[in-house]
Symmetry: C2
Subunit: 290 residues, 2 copies
């Protein structure tokens, strides 16, 4: 069983717990639709790789943390796709959740997945570790600096761009590295920069894909940033400038990896992720949908 299989099994367990009897069947199906089949599972993968780099002394805690992080990410996609936000018809190559079910079910599925995420962390056996993970996930998810805050900035007349990017995209990557360290009984603070830089790289790569990609390849609409007037690295720097910026950020990310048993392997993983994420204009490289 690979680590990805174990992650999927842990996510499946959370979905089964949410589908006890009696449960409203359409909402239970909506939770499953929002989570499976998964996209690239990038955030939980980063979390598990940081835990592995730290020696992974508590694999069950790492898996619960990774599953919780992915549940939160899927909740955010269900809500971000709603008509009130992106009004997206497609997600991961299939109709977005509210198109496939309904707006009420998409709102409730997002709410339920947020709750399932905290519930999954509350199952971590070591109480102090469970609480540290819960506080960490809450900080990177809610207000004032989590992904909710990131979406909230889009309702402001004047946007604090640094806070916007750090919270909208960076927060869950910072959560990934910090929670990976916490799950492995390490101080999360030295891991913060790596998460922030992977998040920044991911944002630039996403901007490039949004500007260069096509819908079939991404499984979601492209050109959304320009259409919605959102800040975008390609608009600010041009394609070549954005590509150079992406390379710089990734070099910084690799340099920031704290000394740990799996330091070299983690650096290779960041490099491989970078190659996978970097779009090449005109090429039709397959990028798994988010």
């Amino acid at each position: 069983m690979t680590q990805m299989d174990r992650l999927e099994a842990r996510i499946e367990r959370a979905l089964e717990k949410a589908d006890g009897r009696p449960a409203p069947g359409k909402l239970a199906a909506a939770l499953r639709y929002a989570v499976q089949p998964g996209g690239a599972r990038i955030r939980p993968t980063v979390l598990l790789q940081v835990a592995a780099a730290c020696g992974d002394p508590d694999p069950k805690a790492a898996l619960s943390a990774a599953a919780a992080l992915e549940l939160i990410h899927c909740a955010s996609l269900a809500h971000d796709d709603l008509p009130a936000f992106d009004n997206a018809d497609l997600r991961r190559g299939k109709p977005s959740l509210h198109r496939a079910s309904s707006e009420p079910l998409a709102i409730l599925a997002g709410d339920s997945l947020i709750i399932s995420a905290f519930d999954a962390l509350a199952e971590v056996a070591a109480p102090a570790k469970a609480l540290a993970l819960i506080r960490c996930l809450a900080r990177h998810t809610g207000m004032p600096c989590g992904i909710c805050a990131g979406q909230g900035w889009e309702s402001e007349g004047e946007i604090d761009l640094a806070a916007y990017h750090q919270s909208k995209t960076g927060a869950l990557f910072t959560a990934a590295t910090e929670m990976g360290a916490l799950a492995a009984d390490q101080d999360p603070a030295p891991w913060r920069d790596l998460g922030a830089m992977i998040g920044a790289a991911f944002q630039v790569a996403d901007d490039l894909r949004d500007a260069l990609g096509d819908t079939d390849e991404l499984g979601k609409p492209v050109g959304q940033d320009a259409r919605l007037g959102r800040p975008n690295a390609v608009e600010a720097l041009g394609v070549a400038g954005a590509q150079a910026r992406l390379a710089d950020i990734l070099a910084g990310a690799i340099a920031s990896i704290p000394a740990c048993p799996g330091e070299a392997a983690l650096a290779r993983m960041v490099r491989a992720t970078a190659e996978r994420l970097t779009p090449v204009a005109g090429a039709s490289r397959q990028v798994p949908g988010e």
Copy 2:
């Protein structure tokens, strides 16, 4: 300082934590609007009274639990009022959150308040107690049997009425008695029935108010159940039948109170709450808005 003042101060502390710098100001204001000024704060009051009846050995934990429960309740009101659900214009005598701000901010405020609730519980000093409270709140909030499930039943063609009422209205009252016991280091199981019965009484009282009340008195629209085709005790039993049913449930609730130091005082509280909640046709008794 009364217990209600202490509760408001604990809620205020959660709102201040959500409003750090930099935070998107409109979303921070939306969180505050959703929570303050409060309605009757019935659920946290029940929680604090159960903790008091158990001797209240850990008042800080009880206050954090009470604040978390009210934050979740306010989140559910913000989402339930959305156009996708009740499409309510009024709440607590003022415009509903999405009318006062916007749909995106109302969705994000609900999400953020859910997260703040779990974060408040993670601050409880005793780790095992904090985790027990988190698991209890998750169970009564998410799927398959929390308030999200309750709303989810409204999307089903065939409704399991018992599951619908228990999850939609009963869940947070059951959370109130169970969390009150947990905060006071007691086994929550014997307190479950009291919560369920207070919830059932509250549901019948709400049905009576919906059928008999007027908008000015309630601070929210009346006649919603009939308009939305939702199950309602007045429709099933008539006004006198529903009033008799309410009296029966409350007698059962009082009989279910476990032996504890504050048993008599708690029985008096349940009776007083019942009197406050029971609407009298034609009278204009003031009932605080939910």
